[in-house]
Symmetry: C2
Subunit: 516 residues, 2 copies
Amino acid sequence: MQIDLQRQTGLSYVQQIKSAIAERIRSGLLAEGSTLPSVRKLSKQLSVSLMTVVQAYDELEKSGLIERIQGKGTFVKTQLGQLSENPADDSPTRPKKQTTNSSPQLKNDTSYQWQLAVTDYLPRAQVWNFDPQGPFPGGINLSTAIIDPDLLPHAELNKELEKALRESPHLLTRYGPIEGDHELREEMASYHRERGMNVTAEDVLITSGAQQGIDLVARCFVGRGDVVIVEAPTYPSALDVFRGRGATIIPVPVDGDGMRLDILTALCDAHPPKLIYTVPTYHNPTGTVMSLRRRQQLLEIAESYHCLIIEDNPWGDLTFENSPPPPSLMQLEADGHVIHLSGFSKTIGPGCRIACLLAKGTVLKRLVGAKSTVDLGSPLLTQRAVLAYLRSKHAKTFQKKLSQALLPKLDAVLATLQEYAPPGVRWTVPLGGVNIWITLPEQLRAEELLAASRTQGITFLLGSACYPGEPEFNHLRISFANAKKEELHRAVRTLCETISSLLQQPRGNRGQEPVL
Amino acid sequence: MQIDLQRQTGLSYVQQIKSAIAERIRSGLLAEGSTLPSVRKLSKQLSVSLMTVVQAYDELEKSGLIERIQGKGTFVKTQLGQLSENPADDSPTRPKKQTTNSSPQLKNDTSYQWQLAVTDYLPRAQVWNFDPQGPFPGGINLSTAIIDPDLLPHAELNKELEKALRESPHLLTRYGPIEGDHELREEMASYHRERGMNVTAEDVLITSGAQQGIDLVARCFVGRGDVVIVEAPTYPSALDVFRGRGATIIPVPVDGDGMRLDILTALCDAHPPKLIYTVPTYHNPTGTVMSLRRRQQLLEIAESYHCLIIEDNPWGDLTFENSPPPPSLMQLEADGHVIHLSGFSKTIGPGCRIACLLAKGTVLKRLVGAKSTVDLGSPLLTQRAVLAYLRSKHAKTFQKKLSQALLPKLDAVLATLQEYAPPGVRWTVPLGGVNIWITLPEQLRAEELLAASRTQGITFLLGSACYPGEPEFNHLRISFANAKKEELHRAVRTLCETISSLLQQPRGNRGQEPVL
């Protein structure tokens, strides 16, 4: 079992070991009845004291996740109580190898036990934080930052795709170039030139979603111990990527003007960054916008330290402001420090998984090299679907219409918070994008709220997922673009009432300490 | 500049440094006029002696790739002579920063110079071995293992896709599950059950091409210094993946019965493998089939050493045999050691980039975790296109028809080789797949043949790309499935005549030593 212990974090090793094992149990990666490594073995492997592992195991046992059997070892007990569909089923399960039952199902479980001894290099993968059972029937998912498919241009995309298929009947049976279809690269360049960026088709790499763009940059330029600066909070799946590369991740707080560059500057001499990851426009998860002044300062820092910047721009056109946001970092710079990621997945067609990476010089060439190793190029079919759509008349006005369609949803959430949120709860008013960041009074942990709201069919993203070191536990992110207006009203009201009720309970009565 | 020096290889450090820099120049990654690191700096960075770097630079200068200017430094001279379209343009180019010319183009070149100081973690990426100019107009590409799109079922795929779009009009605007569309996973499981494998939908992960499958396994389970066993020769892009993870790659030779397990067994105690990568059926690049006995032995080795096997199966149904090949490794094993990759890109729709990864137990679960970090799931659209096609009647008989359509192409190549190949040239007769492996007399290097045949518009894959340490230089792989029968005849005859003519030249007259 690989547990990546981080020194620069607010969490003790005990907490980190406990979290890592709890995540693996929740995700099903450590199945019921699996044997955990002995205290001695794990302490040796992780280079921590025996006592640290003993304490982590103690806490896991107290949480009901594992079971120690004298003389036999330590085993995974059962699923998390709160997820278990049948609480009566909560009896301790012993390793199946030792039972005499040999039905085919059990036999299979047993024979894969050896796999647990295979070390992996997985970082905490965000997927493990998703609810494995999905939302309840009739439940409301506020945890995923996606847009209601009813608002997306499926009819037009389908029409354009069918036209593209008729025009190029060989589309499905050909490979495209690794860097992307040439015509789509031209179109993407012109799309971004319209938004003020000085780019040509030569600067474009087509990726399978912006997530792949982040991954390609990390694979190329981030190695063990390299310093990656992220906003705190930030996009959780970016953290997974950087952690997977063994980076030293340094979080820099965000305020109403974006990343706190005074703090970044103070850090840089001691920890010269290799890469800075930012969502400057409609920041994920807070929805704020980095000011022009800070954008210019950030570019100066990149120049001084010869480092790269990922400018992640998942929904730059989804604005609720009357005036446009400041120019993008890509637009402001001239020296090839910025790698700009425009996702078209979220706002046009998630089923296409097409995004555009813009970079200059050898940085782009090296990213194409990485893309060749990763998947030999994105599918031609989905590229042409997006190409055909972007060229259509519909696309020209669509983003504006989409913003207008999202505004009533946002207003519904804000109005409901205004009306029902108990004192001490704060939230951001996003200028664009799909997320609202809510801060609870410090004595209430978001995990407690999630455990309670899940039973009512409402899920959201734990704010702690948005920090590399999970130092703050009283935040949550709710995404308002997927649910209907009425659902949003109902869900947010329920959340507020649950918060009130949890705040009224004395601390000791709020159940066992949450595990994640 | 990151150069990953390998100790277990037939190549000296001088050769490795020379190759790495030459590749970067060929690929355009190091542009004309770029400054190379000083001898002192590079020797320090790579922990090799000054003399080693001096020798590598000497050889690069002799090859006309770089230029040393007293008191100024070492610079990239120009493109490879053999690729240069205008040999008269071959004048030394100085760093543009020092000229007074400041047109926008030159200014851009200059301003990105700092990027060369950004270390990357790219392995030798196979894309750099592709001809950057592409095949000549009217030329014949025997280097890429793809199938003539005219032979692929584009009409049926298009028809099924349009039907799927009509049935699910929201297809383009929804995300699918990270592990893949549930119905496609069911279909893939049933497809593989028909081929004797004991799998259910729960064992399936949909990936963006088999290349991504290899990459996911490496990202999960291969770390710096972990031992990965590969066949020698093997699929070049798999090598790139393992090298990118810092693996210790150990090649094991292949004979007519597949991987030489006697050699593997002898290696295993000293170098216990973490992962074994094999293409047991219609091996890439030789087309041979691993015997049943060796398949069983290989599984025993995996069990003894608790290691994983990637069974890459890009074209298992593309058979030229009357009897089917032996059962797959996935079919023969019961303990979760095998990860089976079935590519559907090559043989159905390269434009879809859909492949199926089969694995058991926590190994699969961990791979799903990695997939979430990499791209959050493959596009739903292309998954449904493949699903609809696999369910159609056409798909049931298609692979057999495709094999029959490829057979005349294979026969054309074999007959032409038989007629025109000079004595000393040997080749494999593949039992399936799309490749033939040709061995030249030892005194002739495949690079020399490629340089000569490129001028005649014919390209093939250098055999040296198929070895981790490039110990053999007299092999080439030709892929016969893309070109037309007449083209194959013409191209192979030309190759044979070029070989004859090169063999007749005295060694000293065959031009400068090849750089790659």
